[in-house]
Every structure is written in structure tokens, then in C-alpha cells.
Amino acid sequence: MTALRRNATIAWAIARKDAVAEVRGKQAAVSTLTFAAVVLLLFGFALGPDPRRLADAAPGLLWLGLVFAGLLAVGRFHELETEDGALEQLTLYPVDRRSIYAGKAAVGAVAMLVLGALLVPLVAILYAVDVVRALPVLSLTVLLGAIGFAAVGTFYAGVTVRMRAREVMLPLLVLPIVAPLLLAAVKATSAALTGDPFGELPAWLELLAGFDVVMLIAGAGTYGFLLEE
């Protein structure tokens, strides 16, 4: 129990450090949020002005926006460490590597939630979707999606952080892996928005939760090897 508490404290410290750096840095956070908003705007242009079509596509567009902007966010939390040999320092601390992973994944999930808090209202406005009624279920979907994406993204950011061409490799590796997450999250979102006429919502949320658990375990189990490099 004490070991678990200790690890949680370490994870919390790392997450807090990254969050503080991000909030004080401002530019990166603001540009990521702006990027996500611009992506949603461009999806509107790509699909044309037909409101019915935009409303139908809204769940998919919301999640694509979240995934694209999320890639920038999780990449940043590792890039922070590459400056001034911070990553070497971090690996030298005599702490459980899993708690480092947990901290990074936690701050990644928080970043995704912030993105979600911006993008959901934006989707409601731009694509004329009524989200107020579905808000509780939608929040749960975004929460589960954020955790899953952060679990995968943090792991791959750890893989690519010291690599050449990491800006290309991170999306290339993450996007196929998160395909089931995208699929389940889009399905859950569209079920939530339409009032779940087919009663499929629980199944998709279960799949999301299952993805989160599996990927958190896989990430925590393997992330330590990456720091040993």
C-alpha cells in the first residue's frame, strides 16, 4: 500500500510539473487549442455547407480533431524533457518507471480533457448539434477516450522522443493503434447524441474502457525499457 502511495505521489509530482510548465509556457497550449479549432473549421469546408451532413459527421470530426490535437499535446510533454538533459535527470531518479509513465499519461489525459472541453461546444456551434441533452454521457465518453489516447500517446512519445524525424513517426505509430479507440468513441458519441435508439452505448463504452485498461497496462509494463536506453 505504501509503495502504491509513493508511486502515486511521484506520478502526481511529474504530472503537476508538466502541467505547470505548460500553463506558464502558454504559447504551446494556446497554439494546440487553436490548431484543433482550425481543424474543425476546415472539416466544415471539406464537407460543404449542408447542415444535415455536418451534423451526421459531427462525432467523427470531433474525435479526429481531438486525436490530431492530442498528438501535438502528448508529443510536447516529452519534448519538454529533451531540453537541458532533463530526460537523463528524470531517468536517474531512483523511482519506479511506471510512476513516471503514470504521471506523463495523467497530464496527457488532462490535456485531452481540456481539448475536449473546447471542442465539444465548438462542434455544437459549428455543426449545429444539440449536445446539452447528451452532456453526461458525452463527458464520460470524452473521459474514457482521453485516458486511452493518453495511454497510447505517452508510450509512443517515449519511443520517439530521442529519434530522428519524431514529428512524423509519432503520428505514424499512434494513428493505427488508436483505430479501435476512434471507432468506439465515435460510435459512443453518435449514440449519445441520437439518444441511443439501438441500445449500443454500453457496449461501446465498455470497449473504450477495455482499451484504456489494456493500453495502460501495456504502456506501464514497457515504458521502463525505453528509459533504460
Binding site: M169, L172, I177, A179, L183, A184, T222, F225, E228
Partner: protein
């Protein structure tokens, strides 16, 4: 020599299985000649999954034993896996066009899963290309291969849920292959092709493994040469001004230590 015999046997087996599939078996009643694509297609798909399973297991082997031979198996298997995955998708599309009327059927969970499989392992191979240090590359590749292998079943299930059940896989239900309702020649053609392709896969794996070992030995030799050159230059400041002579000293021959390490 044994590998060469295996290679010849694999070649003959594939030719025999192809001839049997083309001429020994009657055309399918509903699908006509297009159904014959299924023999190499199913065999390729089986080898694609086998390859990536071997890659994941070799990755675990590397992480536990820290022996670069595991990594050589991993890369060999991954590259061959990408080849057979591409073959499986190509064969599937050639079959889908006359039978379903489209090249790409989004509702087919296996096609979608296999396409993602290809993307995952192309990323795996690119990742290897972009890492220079052998141990670092092996570790990165091992964990990425592992996570990809964990992801594949989730992808498969999610796509099945996504679009209801299409035609259930022939491949993962042995009762269907062994079912007497399928005429014996069909079963023989499929099993024969599976066996022939697996033989060819084994030969390819051995050859690619040997190549990976040779590549690694060369890499180590180059690295060893560089290290010696740099240290020599440091020892004699005058040599740094004229690096041509120090390179000449090594003559491109790897230092014995690096070679011994590489062939360990």
C-alpha cells in the same frame, strides 16, 4: 546447404500447390474461378499473423535475454510479415472485385483489420530504420512490436462490432475447414497451399535472419572502425589534421573485438 534444400522444396511445393489449385480442383459453383484466389489469400493471411506473432515473441526474448539474435529474428519476421500482409490484402481485393463488386469492402472486419496490421508493421520497420544504435533499436522495436500485437485483437473485435457480422472467418474456425460439407479437393488445395506457403515462409525467415546477422556484423565493424579512428586521432593530435592516414591504417578491416562481439 540444408537451407538451400529447404528453399528448393518450398519452391516445388508452392508450384505443385498452385498447379493443383488451378487445375486439380473444380471451380466454385457460385464464385467461379475467383474462388481459387482464396488458396494463396488464406495462406498469406495466416503467415501474416504468424509473422507478427513471432516478431512479438522475439521482442520479449530480446527484452529478457538481451541477445541480438532475438532482434534479428524479429526484424526478419516483421519484414516477411509485411510482404505476406500486402499479398493477403492484394489477393483479397482481387477476389472482392468480381465477387462483391468492389475492391474495398468496409464492412469486412478482416480486410480492415489487415489494413491496419500493414500500417502498424510498416511503422515498425520505419522505426527500425530511424534508430542507429543496435541495442536501442532492438528495445524500441521490441516494445512497439509488443504493443502492436496487443492492439491487433482489439482492432479485430472493434471492427466486428462496428459492422455486424459478415461472413465469419474460414480461417479461425477449424470445423469449417474440416467440415465434410466442403468437398475433399477444396480442403486439399487449401491445406496444400497453407503447407507450401509455410515452407516458403520458413526458408525466407532463415535467409532474412542470416542477412540480419550479417548486417549487424557489418554495422558493428564500421562502428568499431570509427571508434578506433577517433581515439587514434585524440592520441596523436597531428593525425587529426590528416585523417586520411588513420583511415588507411584501419583499411576498412574491423577490429577483432567488434567482430567477436558481432558474431557472438
Amino acid at each position: 546447404m540444408t537451407t538451400r534444400i529447404l528453399g528448393v522444396a518450398a519452391l516445388l511445393a508452392v508450384i505443385a500447390a498452385a498447379l493443383f489449385g488451378l487445375y486439380g480442383v473444380p471451380a466454385d459453383l457460385n464464385q467461379g474461378d475467383a474462388q481459387r484466389i482464396m488458396y494463396p489469400h488464406v495462406a498469406s493471411a495466416w503467415l501474416a499473423y504468424l509473422s507478427f506473432g513471432v516478431t512479438a515473441l522475439s521482442g520479449i526474448g530480446w527484452l529478457i535475454r538481451r541477445d541480438l539474435r532475438f532482434d534479428a529474428v524479429a526484424v526478419a519476421s516483421a519484414e516477411i510479415g509485411v510482404l505476406f500482409t500486402a499479398l493477403a490484402i492484394w489477393g483479397g481485393m482481387m477476389w472482392a472485385r468480381p465477387v462483391w463488386g468492389v475492391f474495398w469492402q468496409w464492412e469486412d472486419p478482416r480486410l480492415t483489420t489487415t489494413a491496419l496490421l500493414l500500417a502498424l508493421y510498416l511503422g515498425y520497420l520505419l522505426l527500425r530504420r530511424l534508430s542507429d544504435d543496435p541495442a536501442r533499436r532492438a528495445t524500441r522495436a521490441a516494445v512497439v512490436g509488443l504493443v502492436a500485437a496487443v492492439d491487433i485483437p482489439i482492432v479485430h473485435f472493434s471492427v466486428i462490432w462496428w459492422r455486424g457480422l459478415h461472413q465469419p472467418p474460414t480461417f479461425l474456425s477449424p470445423d469449417k475447414i474440416l467440415n465434410p460439407s466442403a468437398p475433399l479437393p477444396f480442403v486439399l488445395a487449401l491445406v496444400g497451399m497453407l503447407g507450401a506457403f509455410t515452407l516458403a515462409w520458413t526458408w525466407l525467415l532463415i535467409r532474412r535472419y542470416q542477412l540480419a546477422r550479417a548486417e549487424l556484423a557489418r554495422e558493428e565493424a564500421v562502428r568499431g572502425g570509427l571508434v578506433r579512428r577517433a581515439s587514434a586521432a585524440k592520441a596523436r593530435p597531428g593525425a587529426a589534421a590528416n585523417p586520411g592516414t588513420t583511415i588507411g591504417d584501419d583499411g576498412g578491416i574491423p577490429p577483432p573485438k567488434a567482430q567477436a562481439e558481432a558474431t557472438r
